[in-house]
Symmetry: D2
Subunit: 316 residues, 4 copies
Amino acid sequence: MSNTFGTLFRITDFGESHGAAVGGVIDGCPAGLEIDLDFVNEELRRRAPSHDELSTERHEPDSVKFLSGIRDSKTLGTPIAFLVMNRDVKADSTNNQVIKPSHASFVYMEKYGHEDNYGSGRASARQTVCRVVAGAIAKLLLKRHGIEITSALAAPLRPCPPDDTIGAKVRVSVCGVPTGLGEPVYDKLDARLAYAMLSINAAKGFELGAGFHAADMLGSEYNDRQTSGFKFLSNNDGGVQAGISNGQEIFFTVAFKPIPTFRRPQQTIDFNGQPAVYEGNSRNDRCVYPRVLPVVEAMTALVLADFLLQRNANQI
Amino acid sequence: MSNTFGTLFRITDFGESHGAAVGGVIDGCPAGLEIDLDFVNEELRRRAPSHDELSTERHEPDSVKFLSGIRDSKTLGTPIAFLVMNRDVKADSTNNQVIKPSHASFVYMEKYGHEDNYGSGRASARQTVCRVVAGAIAKLLLKRHGIEITSALAAPLRPCPPDDTIGAKVRVSVCGVPTGLGEPVYDKLDARLAYAMLSINAAKGFELGAGFHAADMLGSEYNDRQTSGFKFLSNNDGGVQAGISNGQEIFFTVAFKPIPTFRRPQQTIDFNGQPAVYEGNSRNDRCVYPRVLPVVEAMTALVLADFLLQRNANQI
Amino acid sequence: MSNTFGTLFRITDFGESHGAAVGGVIDGCPAGLEIDLDFVNEELRRRAPSHDELSTERHEPDSVKFLSGIRDSKTLGTPIAFLVMNRDVKADSTNNQVIKPSHASFVYMEKYGHEDNYGSGRASARQTVCRVVAGAIAKLLLKRHGIEITSALAAPLRPCPPDDTIGAKVRVSVCGVPTGLGEPVYDKLDARLAYAMLSINAAKGFELGAGFHAADMLGSEYNDRQTSGFKFLSNNDGGVQAGISNGQEIFFTVAFKPIPTFRRPQQTIDFNGQPAVYEGNSRNDRCVYPRVLPVVEAMTALVLADFLLQRNANQI
Amino acid sequence: MSNTFGTLFRITDFGESHGAAVGGVIDGCPAGLEIDLDFVNEELRRRAPSHDELSTERHEPDSVKFLSGIRDSKTLGTPIAFLVMNRDVKADSTNNQVIKPSHASFVYMEKYGHEDNYGSGRASARQTVCRVVAGAIAKLLLKRHGIEITSALAAPLRPCPPDDTIGAKVRVSVCGVPTGLGEPVYDKLDARLAYAMLSINAAKGFELGAGFHAADMLGSEYNDRQTSGFKFLSNNDGGVQAGISNGQEIFFTVAFKPIPTFRRPQQTIDFNGQPAVYEGNSRNDRCVYPRVLPVVEAMTALVLADFLLQRNANQI
C-alpha cells in the first residue's frame, strides 16, 4: 500500500527514475470537473529545473499525457491515468555500486535485496512528478470550492559553497478552507498534513501554526480566542483546532535537509562494504527549493480534496 | 475512518469523556503473544495523574478490562476488545454553553451541529486511554523483537504561573529497530510517525533526527556516512533514510502547545456568539508532560508494530 | 482486517462465544440520526431463538447496551460502541477436544495453533448479534432515504429428521433504492452483496435476479429492456446493472448449508487425530432459518448504507 | 475506491474501451519474483477472441508493456505498471445515443450524468485485460507456492441461434492451497471469492462446493468428516470451512448471463427516452465462454495471492 495516497481522492503511482516513464492513476475524482491541461503542465514546469543557480541545469520539459478519465476536458468519474515520459534514462553507471550517504542505497539493499542503485529508482525525486500531476487535479477541485494554496521560503537560505548543498524551510498557506474539514482523533487534518509532508523526500520536520514555538508559550499567550460573530483574535493554531479546520488561514512549515548528493567527494562504502568515494555532478540540484514548492502544494491539495469528499460523505 | 489507526495492526476506539466508558478493538495482533496485564495497567498508571505539581489532582486509577481475544494470558488471533470505565462522569455543566478557546467547541459545532460541549467529548484527553492500552499490546509484540521505546522531555519546561498552562517538547527514542521497516514513497516510516504524533491532542510539531536544524546545514555537515561493516558515523537522519529504518536509533521530537484550559479567566463567547468567560479548575492539568509520555510511546509502538507485520507480508 | 466490514459506514466487532460479551464499534454513521432503541432490540429478538420447532430452545433474550456515540436518542457522529452480554458461558467441555465436522475446529487449529474448540469461539453464530445491531443502525439510516429490506424463505424446507439438520434458501428484497448506488468495476453493488452474504456462516451460494437460471437463457429472453419514461419491462438483472442500482427492486437469493452440529452422533477425530464421536444437543438449532433472516437483512443494510455515503462523497 | 482490488496484493486499473489504452498498477508484489513475460501474454491470448464460433471475429492480438517494477525479468518490490494498447478505437457512433438493454447505458447516465455511451467505456469487457495481466502476476506468485488454478464449463451450453447470445456456467478449481488461508468473520476466503467473481461483468451467481444444492441436504449427508491423518472423507464445503482453506481442492461455480448485445434487433429507448432500436454486429461475442476463463482464474489468483501475503503478516 506504500504507493497509494488518500482515502476517497486517491493517487496510486509508479515509475523508477531509470525506467521509460513515471505515471499514476487518480481514483475518486468526481465526474464533471473541468481539467485545464495548461494548468497541469504549468505545475510541472514549476517543478522542473530552471536556470536558477540552485537547481540542476539538465533540460527536462515534462509534459503529462492523460490516458483515461477525461473527455472533452471534463472528468468522467472514471480513474484518471497519466504518463510522464522520462527523458534522460542514461543510468549513472559510475556510481551504481556505491552506497550514497543519507540516501536510499543502504536501506533498499536491506529491504529488497538490491545490490546496486538501480533498484532505488523509486526513491528518486523524479517520483514527485506524479504528486504534482495528481495535486494539480486536486487543486482544480479545490478552486471550485474557493480554496487556494501558496508556498514560499520560510526563511532565507544559508549561503553554501558551489560543491555542496543546503537545506530549506518552506511555509505553506491555505486560504478559503471552510470550517469542518478533518476528522477527529486519528485522521485529524493536521495529522494528515504532517503525514503528507513527511512523505516528501528530504523532509525532516513539520510544524503547524506556532509549531515548536508553542512549546515555550503559556496558555494565556497562545489561545486563539473568539469574539462576537465567532471572529478569531489570533491564529496560533494555524487554522486547525482539535484536528478540524476552523475557517482561518491554514499555515504550516516544513523543514528539508540538504540534498544528500553533491559534487564535493564523500568517503563512503560500496555494496560490499568496501571503501569508496561518491561525488555528484553539475546536474544535481543544490537545494530542494524552489522545485519543492509545487510538491508541497500538491500534497496539501491531495489532503484537502480527500477531506472535502469525506465531508460530503458524512451527510445524513 | 477517523477512529481507526493502522493498516495491519489496528486500533478502533470509542468513548466520550462524559460516557460510561472508553474502549476499543485491537485487530490484527497475531495469535500466541503473551499479554502481561500488569504491564498494561502500569502503562495506564503512567498516563494517570500523579501528585506531580503539573498534573491534575483528580483521583483516576484506571484499569483495563479485556473482553475478548485473550485466553490464559495469550492472544488468540481474534480481536482484542477492552473497556476502561469512566469514573468521573459528572458533566461540567457550568461551562457547557461556553466556547473553550483553542479547543474543540467551535469546530465540533461547525462540523456536527452540536450546540454545547457534550458533543466534543471525543476530543477529550480521556481518549488517550485507548491509545495507551493498544500501544501497550504493541509494545509487548515489539519487545519480542528486541525493540524498546523510551521518551522524556527534550528541553526544560518554561516556568509558568499557577493559574496558567505551558507547552512542552518531548523526545522519543527507539532502540533495536531492524533495518527495512517502513515503505517507500507515501508510507514512509517517518511519515507514519509524524501522522501518529500529530494525531495526539495539542501536538503542533514533529521533527526527526536533526529536524528543523537540518534546514540550516550543508550536505557535507549533515550526511550520515557509513564505513566498513556498514557502520554509521553519525545519525542526523534519526534512524530513517528514504522512509525506511537503517538500524540506528530512531529519535524524534514532538512539540505540544499549552493545554487550552486553565484557571485564569478567559474572555470568549458562548455557542450563540455572546460574550462569556471561561475558567478551568484545579482538576485540570497544567502541562501535557508528564502524562503524554506513555501516549507518544504508544503511538510510536502502533506504527512500528504495523510495519513489522507489513514486513512479514512482503515475503515472496 | 478480518473483523471490519465496510468502507465509510463500518462495523468492527469482537467477542468469542465463550467470553463475557460480544460487541462492536460502528464508525462513519453521520450525526443527527434518530436511534430507535426498541427497533434495535426487536431486530435482536428476531435473531433470538423462538419456540419455532427448528430453533434451539435455549433462553437468550439479548439486549444491546450502547456505550458511546448516541445522546438523547440521536447519533453524535462519533463511533457508536455497543455490548451484548453473553448469558450462557458454560463451555461445552465434553466436546472440546473433538474436531467438529464441517466446522471451524480444524482450520482454526491449522491457522492459529489452537488445540481445542475454545479458540474458535469467533466462528460461532453468536457473532451475528453484532451484525444485527450494526445492521439495525444502517436500516434506520436507509429508512430515512425510503429504502426497505425484507427477506423470506425462497423455497419450502425439505423435511428432516429430529436429530438432523437441513439447509435453506433465503430470498432478500430491497425496495426504494435510488438509481446510481454501487461503483463500477470492482466495488459493484452486487459484488459487495455477494461478499456480505458469503461472509455469513453456512452461506454457500449467492445469486442475483435470474441468477443461475440466467446461464441457460438467451439474451433475447433475458434482457431487461426499457420503454418510454425509462420504465423497465422486466427485472432479470435483479435491480443491478453494470454493478449499479437501476431503481428497480433489488432481489437475490442466498443458499445455506445444513448447520454442521446435530444430535445424531458423527464419527470424527479429535485434535490429536484419534477417532472420536461428536454429537450436538437439543440446544442446537436445526436450520439457519428463521434466525438468519435478520442477519441477511443486516448485511444488506450495511452494504447499502456504505454506498449511500459513497454516493454523497462523489459530489463535485 | 472502485478501481482497486485487494488489500496487500493490489491492482488499481484504468482505461475506457474508446481510449488509447487500458492498464494498471500492481502494488504489493514482493521483490524477487521471476516474471515470465510469455506466460503473461499467453494469458492475454486466452482472453483474446479466437476463431471459436462463439467469440467475436475481431482481430485483437493484445500484448502487455510493463513500465516499471520489473528489471531483468524479476520484480523489484516497486509498483508494476503496465499498458495494453487499444487497437480498435473507432467508436460505434451509430449506437451511441441508444440505451443498450441490460447494460451500463442507463445506470451510468443516472450516476455520472453521461448522455451517451462514451462514458460507459469503463464497463466494457475490455477492462478484463487488466484483470488478466494482474492475475497472471499473481499466478506466478502462487505457482512458487504450489498453487494451480484451472477452469472449464460447468455444464454444456444451451444451443442458441446465430443472432442471439447465451449464458454460461463456469467451474473453477484450485489445487495445492495450504490450510489456513482466509480470515474469519468478514474476510472469509469464500466471501472474497464471491466478491471477486461477482465483480466480473455478466456474473449473476456464485456457489462454493455443493452450493445451492446444500440448501436441500441434511447435515448428515453434507458434513465433510475427517478420519485418521486428518484426511477428509468428502468435499461438500469446496475446500473452505469457516472461511478458511482446509487443504482440500477449492472449487466453485460462477453463473454468467447472456451477453446483452446481439445482432437480433432490440426495441429500446435512447438517452432522451424516445423509442429506438439497438442491434449488435458480427464483432460481438455470443457467449462469455471461453474468453471469461482466464478472467475468472485471474480474479481467483488475486484473492489467493492477497491471502498468502496476509498469512505471512500474521506471524508473531
